[in-house]
Amino acid sequence: MPTEPHGRPHLSFRVNGEPVELALEPYKTLLEVLREDLGLTGTKHGCELGECGACAVLVDGSPALSCLVLGLECEGREVLTVEGLARRAELSPLQEAFADLGAAQCGYCTPGFLVMAQDLLDRNPHPTRDQIRRALDGNLCRCTGYLQVFEAVEEAVARGAAARCR
C-alpha cells in the first residue's frame, strides 16, 4: 500500500461510483473516513460496535457495517452509501416508498435500512415479508416499530413491478 512521505497511508477506492483518493489516519474506520474525510454524513454512528446497523453500507455489493471496517481495508473497492441511492435528483424506488409510507420518522436509522433493503432487492427482487424481516434484522429502529418499513419495501417492489409492466 502506498504511503505519503510523512507516513499517512494512501487510500484509493470508489464511493458511489466515483473514484476517491486520500491520505488517511490508519486507525480510521470506513465510517469515519466517509463522514469525516469525505463529508458523506448520511451514514450514521449509532454504537461503533456493530450492534445497531445505522452505519450499514455496501462494499463491493455486500453489506458491511462501516464502523467495523477499517478505511484501509477498502483499497480498490467500491462502496455504496445512502448518498449513492438516488439517480441524480431522482429518488430510488425504495427512497420514494420510504418517504411516502412513513418508513422514516426521525430518519437516523433510515440510511442503514435503505442500504440493507437495496441489497435485499438486488439479490431478491420479490422478497416475502419474512425475507424482508430477516434481511433487516440487524438494523435497529426505535421510532417506527418496523411495520411501515416492511410495507415500504413491499411498496417499492410493487411499484417496480408495475413500472416494468407499463
Binding site: 438516488a86 433510515t110 434484522d137 435497529l140 426505535r142 417506527t144
Partner: protein, 825 residues
C-alpha cells in the same frame, strides 16, 4: 370564510421532511463540522459515590494535541431542568454520585487524542457508602446523596387526600390490594447525544445540539455560564430519536459551551453509546401498591395508590415524574375518592427522568392488571368492566382535572370488535390468551417548567412577494413529525400545499419560544399557535383581495393555491397575486400566533402536574402464546384503538401508534436498566453500581424479528381544544400495551406477572408457584416501611371544594371562579 372540505388535514401524505431523511441530507448535531473545530471527551466517575479530593490534569495538558482540560471548578453555578432541583453541574464539583458522573472534559484536536488524554488524568476519590435502591435509601438516611432532599435520602414525598378514602372503602363490597413493580428502562435513541458549540463572528455563543427543548437548554446555559440570554443562541438539530431522553439540559452541552467560550473555537462533544446509557434520564423504576374498593357492579368507590420511585442520583424531572405517577388514574375511570402517596428516593445510579409516558406507564400497568383481577373476581368481562367505569365527557375528576372529550368507550368498543375479543377471551385454549387494557394521556402539560404567564407556543409567519410562506416555530423535530404538523396546518388554512411552506424551527435566535417537544404538547399547542398565525395571515390577504375584486371578504375561499369567490370560483387571484395585492395594501406581511393553555381548576400545591387542555385515550388487546416449558412469551398480534381527536396526517399518526406499541413491547418483555454492585471482596462496600449491559447488543430491544402485526384503529372525534380537533398520539398508545400483555398471559396460562419486564424466568417462577399450590403470581410481596407524610386534604368538586387544599396556606390572588360541568361520578 366559507366552509370548505379539508385539503391537507386528514389526508395520508408524505411528510414534508421525508426527502431529507431518505437521502441522508438531514443534518443531525453530529453531522455538523465547523472550521477549526476541536473535539471533546468526558471522563466519567468510576465510583458510584465518592468525594473528589483532587484532579491532576498536568500530564493530560502536556499531551500533544490537547488544548484544554476543564473540571467542576470551572462550572461553579448549578443548574437543573426544574426550578426545585438545581442540583447539577456540567462537571462534578466536589462529589460524584453515580458511575459515569462527568468529572472532567478534555478538548483536543480530535476525539482519539482527547481519549488518550483522559487516561492521563489523575483523580483522587474518597469513596462513600452507596445506595442501590429506594429500600436502602429508606434504611440509610446518611450520608445524604443531596442535602436538599425532603429527608435523608428521600428526595420528595407527596401525599394527597381527595375525599374521605376510608368512607369510600366502607362503601365497597370488596377491597383489592396488590403490589406491582415496574423496572426502569431507557430511551435508547439510535442517535447518540451530540453538541457543537462555537463563538459566532460577533463573539456570541452558539450551540447546535440534539435537544428536544432548545428553550430550556438556552435558560440552563445562560444560568450555568452566567451569560445574558441575548448572548446565547441554541439551535435544536433534528433529533435522531428523543423519547424524552433529550428533553433536559445535558452535561456535555453545558461543558461544550463552556469550552468553546474559553477557546474561541468550535468544540464538538459526542457521547459514546455507553455514555448514553449512563446519561439516561429514562423510566423510573417504581414499586406500587394499589388498594381499590369496588362494588359488585364493578364501580370503584375509592382508590389508594402508593408509589415508591427510584430516582437515581439527581433531580432531573423527578419531582414531576413522581406527581405523574399519581395524576392520571382519575381521568380514565370514575374514582370518587382518591388518595395518592408518592415518594422518590435518591440512589447512586444514573438519574431517571421522563421517558415516553412520563411517570404514568408504571401506575397504569398496576391499575390495569388489578382491574383484570377485579373483573375475574366479580365475574365480569374485562372490557365490560371498563365500559362501566370509564369517565364521562365534560367532568371534573376528584383531583380537579377536567375531562372534556373522551373517546375511551369508543376505543374499547372498536378494539373489542376488531380483535374478536369475545370469541377469543377465555376461549383460545391452553397456552394461548388475550388481554385487554386502557389508558389516558396528556395533550401537553398545562404548566410550563418554570412559572410564567406567557404563551407556551408561538408561531410567526412571513409572506413574501413571490408567494413564499415561511413559518417560524421553536418546536423541535424529533421524528414525531412536528415539522409536518406545522407545515400542514399553515397550508390547510392558506389553501396551499404543505411543501409550499418553508420552515425555520428550534432556533432561539430566529424562532419564537416553544417550550419543546415533550409532554405530547406540540401538535396541540404549536398547532393552535400555527392556526392562529395562519388565520391572521389569511384575513390580511382576504381583506386586500376583497377590495381588489370587489367581493366581500367573507365570501373568499383559500384553496388550491388560489383565493377566489365562493359564488364565482373563476373570479379570483393566484396565491402569489393575492400576496402582492395584500403587501401593496398592508405593507410587509407577517403575523404571529400563540397558545396558552386554559387555567386549571386544580389550585392545590402539586395540582400543576396533570392538567392538560384535553386527554387522549387508548384501548388495546394483545394476543400471546406462552410456552410452559421455557416461559417464552410470543406476541401473536396487537390491536389498538386510539382516540386522536383528528388524525392530521394518518401516515404519521399510525407511525406513532405502532412505534408506541413497539416501544411498549420492549418494556413489557425485555428492556431493563439493571445494575449490580461488584463483589464486596473486590471493592469493599462502596463497590461500583455498574450497569449490567450498557450496550445495544445486551440491552435487549425488539428487532424486526420480534415485532408482531399491529392493527391500528383511529377513533376520530374532533376535540374543540385541538387544531382541527387533533389530540396527541406520540405517548398515549404506549401505555395500555404492557398491562394488556400481562393480562393475556393470565388468560393463556393462569398466572399473573406483577412486574415488567416479563422475562421467561418470571413466567416459569409463577408457573412453578402455581404448581406448588402457592399464589399463581410473580412480583413484589412486601411494601417497605416508607415514612408517612401528612396529606394535603383537597375536597373533590362534588364535596363543595374550590380546587384548593384545606390544610394549605394559600394566598388568594383571585376570587374563586364558579366551576361548570361538575357531576358526581
Amino acid at each position: 370564510m366559507p366552509v370548505r372540505d379539508l385539503r391537507v388535514i386528514g389526508r395520508a401524505r408524505r411528510r414534508v421532511d421525508a426527502r431529507a431523511k431518505v437521502t441522508g441530507q438531514t443534518l443531525f448535531a453530529d453531522d455538523l463540522r465547523l472550521p477549526r473545530m476541536l473535539h471533546g471527551r468526558i471522563l466519567g466517575s468510576p465510583h458510584p459515590h465518592a468525594r473528589i479530593l483532587g484532579v491532576d490534569a498536568s500530564k493530560a495538558l502536556a499531551h500533544p494535541g490537547v488544548h484544554l482540560v476543564l473540571t467542576g471548578a470551572d462550572f461553579p453555578i448549578p443548574y437543573g431542568i426544574l426550578p426545585v432541583s438545581q442540583d447539577e453541574h456540567a462537571l462534578a464539583v466536589d462529589r460524584v454520585r453515580f458511575v459515569g458522573d462527568p468529572v472532567a472534559l478534555v478538548v483536543a484536536t480530535d476525539e482519539a487524542t482527547a481519549g488518550e488524554a483522559l487516561a492521563l488524568l489523575r483523580v483522587d476519590y474518597e469513596p462513600l457508602p452507596t445506595i442501590a435502591s429506594p429500600e436502602e435509601a429508606i434504611a440509610r438516611p446518611s450520608p445524604q446523596i443531596h442535602d436538599y432532599a425532603d429527608s435523608g435520602n428521600l428526595h420528595k414525598q407527596v401525599s394527597f387526600a381527595f375525599g374521605d378514602l376510608e368512607a369510600g372503602m366502607r362503601e365497597a363490597d370488596e377491597v383489592f390490594e396488590d403490589l406491582f413493580f415496574y423496572e426502569g428502562n431507557t430511551h435508547l435513541p439510535i442517535e447518540q447525544h451530540a453538541a457543537v458549540a462555537a463563538l459566532d463572528p460577533d463573539g456570541r455563543l452558539a450551540i447546535w445540539a440534539s435537544t428536544q427543548t432548545p428553550h430550556y437548554l438556552h435558560r440552563a446555559i445562560c444560568k450555568a455560564l452566567g451569560l445574558a440570554p441575548a448572548r446565547v443562541r441554541v439551535v435544536a438539530c433534528p433529533n435522531g430519536g428523543g423519547f424524552g431522553g433529550k428533553s433536559e439540559p445535558h452535561r456535555h452541552e453545558i461543558a461544550a459551551a463552556g469550552a468553546a467560550l474559553r477557546l474561541g473555537r468550535p468544540v464538538k462533544l459526542c457521547l459514546s453509546r455507553q455514555e448514553v446509557f449512563y446519561a439516561h434520564r429514562g423510566r423510573h423504576p417504581v414499586l406500587m401498591r394499589l388498594r381499590t374498593g369496588v362494588r359488585r357492579d364493578g364501580s370503584i368507590t375509592a382508590l389508594h395508590l402508593s408509589t415508591l420511585v427510584d430516582g437515581g442520583a439527581y433531580g432531573s424531572y423527578g419531582v414531576a415524574s413522581t406527581f405523574y405517577t399519581g395524576a392520571l388514574q382519575t381521568v380514565t375511570y370514575r374514582i370518587p375518592r382518591y388518595r395518592f402517596d408518592g415518594t422518590r428516593a435518591f440512589t447512586n445510579k444514573p438519574p431517571c427522568g421522563p421517558k415516553r409516558g412520563h411517570g404514568t406507564p408504571q401506575p397504569r400497568f398496576g391499575q390495569e392488571v388489578q382491574l383484570d383481577i377485579i373483573a375475574e373476581r366479580l365475574g365480569l368481562d374485562p372490557a365490560e368492566l371498563r365500559l362501566r367505569i370509564a369517565c364521562e365527557p365534560d367532568t371534573l375528576t376528584a383531583n380537579w382535572l377536567r375531562v372534556s372529550t373522551i373517546g375511551l368507550k369508543e376505543c374499547i368498543r372498536q378494539v373489542v370488535e376488531r380483535s374478536g375479543w369475545r370469541a377469543r377471551f377465555r376461549r383460545l385454549g391452553e397456552g394461548r390468551g388475550v388481554g385487554l387494557a386502557c389508558s389516558a394521556y396528556l395533550c401537553g402539560a398545562g404548566l410550563p417548567i418554570y412559572w410564567n404567564g406567557m404563551p407556551q407556543s408561538g408561531v410567526q409567519l412571513k409572506l413574501d412577494r413571490g408567494g413564499g410562506v415561511t413559518a417560524f416555530s421553536g418546536a423541535t423535530e424529533i421524528g414525531q413529525g412536528s415539522d409536518d404538523v406545522l407545515a400542514g396546518l399553515v397550508a390547510e388554512v392558506l389553501g396551499l400545499a404543505p411543501g409550499d411552506v418553508r420552515l425555520v424551527t428550534g432556533d432561539t435566535d430566529l424562532t419564537p419560544v416553544d417550550l419543546g417537544s415533550y409532554s405530547s404538547r406540540v401538535t396541540l399547542m404549536m398547532g393552535n399557535a400555527a392556526v392562529q398565525a395562519a388565520e391572521r395571515a389569511r384575513d390580511l390577504v382576504a381583506s386586500a383581495v376583497a377590495e381588489e375584486l370587489g367581493v366581500p371578504a367573507a365570501r373568499l375561499v383559500f384553496a388550491g393555491g388560489r383565493v377566489f369567490d365562493a359564488q364565482d370560483p373563476e373570479r379570483g387571484l393566484s396565491w402569489p397575486e393575492a400576496v402582492v395585492v395584500a403587501e401593496t395594501r398592508h405593507g410587509t406581511l407577517g403575523t404571529v400566533g400563540s397558545y396558552t393553555p386554559p387555567r386549571s381548576a386544580a389550585r392545590y400545591k402539586g395540582g400543576g402536574v396533570g392538567p392538560s387542555p384535553t386527554y387522549s385515550y387508548s384501548a388495546c388487546v394483545v394476543q400471546v402464546e406462552v410456552d410452559r416449558e421455557t416461559g417464552w412469551v410470543d406476541v401473536v398480534k396487537v390491536w389498538i384503538a386510539h382516540d386522536v381527536g383528528r388524525a392530521l396526517n394518518p401516515v404519521l399518526v399510525r407511525g406513532q401508534v405502532e412505534g408506541s406499541v413497539y416501544m411498549a413491547l420492549g418494556e413489557a418483555l425485555m428492556e431493563e436498566m439493571a445494575y449490580r454492585r461488584l463483589p464486596e471482596r473486590l471493592t469493599g462496600e462502596a463497590g461500583p453500581l455498574v450497569h449490567k449491559f450498557p450496550s445495544m447488543l445486551e440491552y435487549k430491544s425488539p428487532s424486526t424479528q420480534d415485532m408482531p402485526p399491529v392493527e391500528t384503529i383511529l377513533v376520530e372525534d374532533p376535540d374543540p381544544a385541538g387544531p382541527f380537533g387533533a389530540k396527541e398520539v406520540g405517548q398515549g398508545p404506549l401505555l395500555p400495551v404492557m398491562p394488556a400483555l400481562v393480562n393475556a398471559i393470565h388468560d393463556a396460562v393462569g398466572v399473573r406477572i406483577h412486574e415488567v419486564p416479563v422475562t421467561p424466568a418470571k413466567v416459569l417462577a409463577a408457573l412453578a408457584a402455581r404448581a406448588a399450590g402457592r399464589p399463581a403470581r410473580y412480583g413484589p410481596t412486601e411494601w417497605p416501611p416508607v415514612p408517612e407524610v401528612e396529606p394535603l386534604v383537597v375536597p373533590p368538586p362534588w364535596e363543595g371544594g374550590d380546587g384548593r387544599a384545606l390544610n394549605e396556606e394559600v394566598r388568594r390572588k383571585a376570587a374563586p371562579r364558579p366551576v361548570a360541568g361538575v357531576t358526581r361520578p
